[in-house]
């Protein structure tokens, strides 16, 4: 504010003379003269202080710092934006691709594509191997099941049963080897985490990719006449059906092979052959529906022995009892008709027949055994003979 005060301006040479004047009387006398004092310089210029009215105050250092700081920040922000946009997005891909730079997002997207492709290739190989082991298990399992049935049927001879037992013992290690291999493959991870896909969707994604790969391979072989190509085509299509099959996976993973008895193994083989789509699958489905009439006949004989402990057609004429003259079995309607006669040296033919009906109804195989009309003929001396005509149904398999 001092600048605003207007000082009295004097020519400096004039100022000096005045000072000499007052410094000492001696000097004053020596230099004094009556002659008029001549000025060395002209009058000092007059400064127009009004000009200073428009002068702005000197810029503050703080403001300068702030300005530079702001600029620096803005530039840094801009650089940061550009850096992150280039690194994290594909906004400048047309430039970055020319410079050979790939954004992280693009890199990850490429990596994910590679992971999906590699994992699908790996799953492809695993399913080929899995199907191979399942086919082998099914093949040995089919042989095991046949021999198990021979061992447990009433229609096989002792020799056949011994051979079947030996065969079963030789097949079981093969079954175990294949089952363990199947279980091992199912224990592997068929899905990889993909950063851009929700975990819930990755399973469906990999499954679809695998199905697409098998379908693509199959389509290429569809019209081929080469036997191996035909075999491969069939195999690929069967694998396509196997991929979404979670039932077989759960069954295998929950089964401890070593703890299985022969009967359990028989059930397991049949179950696997019925749920895995392969050549044996349809055969197994037919076998599952098949009725073992030898077991039915055996069950009728057992029920008969329960009523007539001396049941034997050879002794019928002499000892009496029950004799059958015909059976009629129908697998479609599951109806059975039994015809025969009872011969009793007494009068209780009808009791014998009703006991037989009750015995048949107790059986796990039959239901609805009935005979509504009873008639007999004969005498106490020769015995009474009553005709037998029982109709019954086979129970449904559980």
């Amino acid at each position: 504010m001092e600048n605003s005060v207007t000082p009295k301006l004097v020519n400096p040479l004039d100022v000096s003379n005045e000072k000499k004047d007052s410094s000492s009387d001696i000097l004053k006398n020596l230099t004094s003269s009556d002659a008029p004092q001549e000025k060395l310089l002209e009058e000092a210029p007059t400064i127009d202080f009004s000009l200073l009215k428009d002068v702005i105050p000197r810029q503050s250092l703080l403001l300068t710092v702030l300005k530079y700081g702001f600029t620096a920040l803005a530039v840094a922000f801009l650089v940061s934006i550009v850096f992150f946009v280039v690194t994290l997005t594909d906004a400048f891909s047309f430039v970055s691709s020319r410079l050979g730079y790939t954004s992280l997002t693009s890199q990850i997207a490429t990596d994910n594509t590679d992971i999906i492709a590699l994992k699908t290739d790996l799953n492809f190989t695993r399913y080929l191997l899995l199907k191979g082991y399942l086919d082998e298990f099914g093949y040995y399992g089919d042989s095991f099941a046949q021999n198990y049935e021979i061992l447990n049927t009433n229609t096989a001879s002792a020799t056949e049963k011994t051979a079947a037992s030996e065969k079963i013992d030789s097949i079981k290690p093969e079954l175990k080897k294949n089952f363990v291999a199947i279980k091992d493959i199912y224990s592997k991870e068929f899905v990889s985490a993909i950063s851009t896909v929700d975990n819930a969707d990755t399973k469906a994604l990999f499954q679809q990719k695998l199905v697409d790969k098998f379908n693509a391979k199959a389509v290429a072989l569809k019209d081929s006449t080469d036997p191996q190509a035909k075999r491969d085509y069939k195999n690929y299509m069967q694998i396509v059906a196997l991929i979404p099959n979670t039932e077989i996976k759960s069954l295998v993973q929950s089964t401890d092979f070593d703890s299985l008895k022969d009967e359990d193994l028989y059930q397991l083989v049949n179950k696997i052959n019925s749920i895995v789509v392969n050549d044996l699958n349809v055969i197994q489905q037919i076998k599952d529906k098949r009725i073992k009439w030898s077991d039915v006949i055996n069950e009728i004989n057992l029920a008969t022995i329960g009523v007539d402990s001396y049941y034997d057609p050879d002794f019928y004429n002499d000892a009496g009892g029950i004799r059958y003259t015909s059976y009629d079995f129908d697998s479609e309607s599951k109806k059975i008709s039994i015809n025969g006669e009872t011969k009793i040296f007494g009068t209780t033919n009808f009791t014998t027949i009703t006991k037989l009906i009750e015995e048949l109804n107790k059986s796990a195989l039959f239901e609805n055994a009935e005979m509504r009309s009873f008639s007999k003929s004969g005498s106490l001396d020769d015995g009474y003979t009553a005709s037998l005509r029982i109709s019954l149904n086979l129970k449904d398999k559980k």
Binding site: I115, T125, T153
Partner: protein
């Protein structure tokens, strides 16, 4: 005394300082937040990219190893498939193959029939093929006379059919009508003879 312009300029400068200070503050906060957020994202993505790189390398290695394991097994798989296919043509043929089936019945009869134990197939009648969704059925009606033992063997033959190892055509008994009769052989030994009419389903692809 300060003039008005000077005062205005001073005031303006003061305002500028405040404005710049506020702008710098806001910019700094925005810059900080933006950079922090993006850096975190960058860092996460970088980690993912690194992991992906390592995972891809592991997958490539695993793929090579498992493909090698499959290649070792491939030959035995193909051999088994060929064997299954071959057996399948007998067990579950692509056509009704009634001529082969007739020959098989003849062969079975020849093996069973003896003077001591009767087994005679007196009639074979093939009926119209029934087509199902996954397979076809050739119904066969047969009239047979046989001993009880041979009747059981016949049942066993049908009931254990359809095994690839056994190579017997897949069949099941649709219906049976049995009639029992007793006869005596020359030695006087009684043998139960069963006359049975049986309807069999022979399956094919």
């Amino acid at each position: 005394m300060p003039n008005l312009s000077y005062l205005i300029a001073s005031k303006r400068e003061s305002t500028q300082i405040k404005s710049y200070a506020i702008l710098c503050g806001v910019l700094l906060i925005a810059f900080g937040l933006f950079t922090y957020t993006k850096w975190k994202e960058y860092s996460d993505l970088n980690t993912i990219a690194e992991k992906n790189k390592a995972y891809i390398a592991a997958l490539q290695e695993q793929g090579a190893s498992e493909t090698a394991a499959f290649d070792t097994k491939k030959e035995s798989i193909n051999t088994l498939k060929t064997e299954i296919e071959s057996n399948l043509t007998e067990v579950f043929p692509p056509a009704d193959a009634y001529t082969e089936l007739t020959m098989k019945f003849d062969e079975f009869e020849e093996n069973l029939s003896s003077r001591d134990s009767v087994f005679e197939i007196s009639n074979i009648e093939y009926q119209n093929v029934v087509t199902q969704s996954n397979y076809s059925v050739l119904p066969v009606r047969m009239s047979i006379k046989g001993s009880k033992e041979n009747f059981e063997k016949f049942l066993h033959y049908v009931e254990t059919s359809g095994s690839l190892a056994g190579k017997i055509r897949l069949m099941d008994v649709s219906s049976i009508r049995l009639n029992f009769e007793n006869t005596s052989d020359l030695s006087g030994k009684k043998e139960e003879i069963i006359n049975f009419s049986v309807q069999i389903n022979a399956y094919f692809q």
